[in-house]
């Protein structure tokens, strides 16, 4: 694997940009064949990756009309839209593999909390709500996009043609998200005393949810050649984060990790208390008007 940090620094590379790369529909011409693996596991895996994007997009969209400057409002909305796009492709794939008559909306709006398989990092309030601020938001964006980019770079070689195509498209987007986060980490760390405090505190808050990102789940273990083993991502993740923090003159946060519950966490449907509220808000119209069309 090439140095993942290249994407942060090499402004001349096309992968740096989410535009201009000629994709009209990410999945045009992509085969829909379902690989010969455990279908239940593959459905669950698509849900994991789709829920990460959906739930995090829901959080990022909370910034809309609340960002520190109008230009940043537009940038955060772009990132939320990219992730929402990834979520839709992945939930649609989950529905296709599951083959139980559900679609992306049934999966997003009619599943209960326990059936959501996103990592807890995606769901916690990092601002603009009371749980954080722009510093915490940037810290989560750095951690999440660094992790997901490393994951998608590998997933692009998946034996599932749809997952591979979604990942190939997502890599361009995530490289941009990571770059955006890294640029802001540099500015907040090197800006004022106060902004430095905010990014340090933000990193400490989100760092507590990092170990969960790299824990191999039985679903992933059951899909060799299709799923990426997240344990493999740790070294690259640490290296990229280390490079950014060194450039920013920051130390790696020494935060204790938030424990799973009896060995279970987000991937198993065991979430934080914030998750119920997030879903209540997201799902309420769809659930309170059965039979409605949108």
């Amino acid at each position: 694997m090439d140095n993942a940090y290249d994407g942060l620094t090499d402004a001349g590379e096309e992968k740096h940009w989410a535009f201009g790369t000629g994709f009209t529909d990410a999945l045009t011409g992509v085969g829909r064949d379902i690989p010969a693996v455990d279908r239940e596991a593959l459905t669950a895996y698509c849900l994991m990756l789709g829920d990460d994007a959906l739930v995090y997009s829901q959080r990022l969209a909370e910034w809309c009309s609340r960002a520190p400057e109008l230009e940043e409002d537009v940038a955060l909305a772009n990132i939320a839209l990219d992730l929402l796009g990834q979520a839709r492709l992945l939930l649609s794939r989950a529905a296709e593999v599951e083959d139980a008559g559900r679609d992306e909306d049934a999966l997003a709006y009619l599943r209960d909390e326990r059936a959501f398989r996103n990592v807890r990092l995606a769901e916690i309030d990092c601002g603009p709500g009371p749980g954080g601020d722009f510093g915490t938001t940037i810290a989560r964006l750095l951690v999440f996009s660094t992790w997901r980019l490393a994951l998608f770079q590998r997933l692009a070689g998946s034996a599932d043609p749809v997952l591979a195509a979604v990942a190939a498209k997502g890599v361009k987007e995530l490289a941009y998200h990571r770059d955006h986060a890294a640029q802001w980490v540099l500015r907040l760390a090197g800006g004022t005393e106060y902004s430095r405090e905010r990014i340090v505190e933000g990193l400490a808050k989100v760092w507590a949810f990092t170990d969960e990102l790299f824990a191999t789940h039985p679903v992933e273990a059951a899909l060799p050649g299709v799923a990426v083993d997240p344990a493999e991502l740790r070294a690259e993740f640490d290296q990229v984060i280390g490079t950014v923090l060194t450039a920013a003159g920051l130390d790696l946060p020494e935060t204790r990790q938030v424990a799973p519950l009896a060995g279970q966490s987000g991937r198993d449907g065991i979430h934080t208390e914030a998750m119920g509220f997030l879903l209540a808000e997201m799902q309420h119209i769809a659930r309170s008007m059965p039979g409605a069309v949108w």
């Binding site: 009309s65 520190p68 230009e71 839209l81 997201m282 119209i285 409605a292 069309v293 949108w294």
Partner: protein, 309 residues
């Protein structure tokens, strides 16, 4: 005797050429433009809130993506317009401070609450539709940067209006509850949409001079009439009733007649006592002030980098 600069300015405007930033222009023209463009920019930014209110609850993922992209567009439109105002010597930060201090206005339509998801559709159809009626002529307004910003805005607004109408058509094809929801929303937004064109020509203090300068190209009442004439067949196609018993085709005029607008309510909202005036300005003030430390940090970082270079 009239100055040579004023002659030149008047000739430029009369020939329908564009006035550009470095041209000489009368102080009144500059002041009128700054006021109008700033109000327009503020309207886009404040206008993010009523619809932004529904992003987290959008009832399908497709609708969520559309709505988020739309509200994001409004931030972009505000940006284009603030930039046009800045070519006249205004400063965005100053304009924002005037907005949150209540010293500059924005379109009163955004002081009405969004109460159901149908409002997202009706805002697209009626509010954006009215805005387009107002804005299309501005693509030919006499000040170049404003006209160019409006060309871009209008292109994107057509997406906004169509997504609204499409949402309403979809809802009308749905359940009885959904159809009732659309009608109820149309009932609430129709009159405020008509008010978007401003006071009647007889009471509009700025219209005459603005027309002469070709900042404005049609009167409030002309544009309002055009909007009513456009909306009636669209409402019929949609299957909703516009809440005006006096709305009727007048073959002699070749236009629809319509009922009297409640100008008392109009002035009440304009003067700051609409249902959401305080809430909208407070939301913007909070975002601006909460973001101050971030803007300062980036400025401080840039300064350090420059000094180190």
């Amino acid at each position: 005797m009239q100055s040579r600069e004023l002659d030149q300015f008047e000739q430029t405007v009369a020939a329908d050429h564009r006035v550009e930033p470095r041209d000489w222009m009368p102080d009144g023209y500059r002041a009128t433009l700054v006021r109008q463009i700033a109000q327009h920019a503020h309207s886009e930014i404040i206008g993010m809130q009523p619809e932004g209110n529904w992003i987290s609850r959008a009832p399908s993922l497709r609708r969520k993506a559309i709505l988020l992209a739309k509200v994001q567009d409004e931030a972009g439109h505000g940006l284009y317009l603030y930039a046009a105002a800045e070519t006249l010597g205004a400063d965005r930060a100053e304009l924002t401070e005037k907005l949150i201090a209540g010293r500059q206005k924005y379109s009163s339509i955004f002081n009405y609450p969004t109460l159901t998801y149908a409002d997202v559709g009706v805002i697209g159809w009626l509010v954006d539709g009215a805005a387009i009626c107002n804005q299309v002529p501005l693509c030919r307004t006499s000040y170049g940067p404003y006209a160019r910003a409006m060309i871009r805005v209008c292109k994107e607004e057509s997406f906004h209006q169509r997504q609204g109408y499409e949402l309403l058509m979809t809802m009308m094809s749905g359940t009885e509850q959904q159809r009732a929801m659309v009608q109820e929303s149309v009932d609430r937004w129709w009159w405020p949409s008509l008010m978007m064109f401003g006071p009647p020509d007889a009471e509009s203090s700025n219209t005459e001079q603005s027309m002469l300068w070709r900042i404005k190209r049609h009167t409030n009442d002309e544009l309002r009439q055009r909007f009513v004439d456009m909306s009636v067949p669209q409402a019929a196609k949609l299957g909703v009733t516009l809440p005006d018993p006096h709305l009727v085709w007048n073959a002699e005029r070749g236009h629809h007649d319509f009922g009297e607008i409640d100008w008392t309510e109009f002035w009440q909202v304009v003067k700051g006592d609409g249902p959401c005036n305080a809430q909208r300005v407070e939301h913007r003030r909070k975002a601006h002030e909460d973001g101050a430390w971030v803007r300062e940090a980036a400025t401080a970082y840039a300064r350090k980098k420059e000094q180190a270079a």
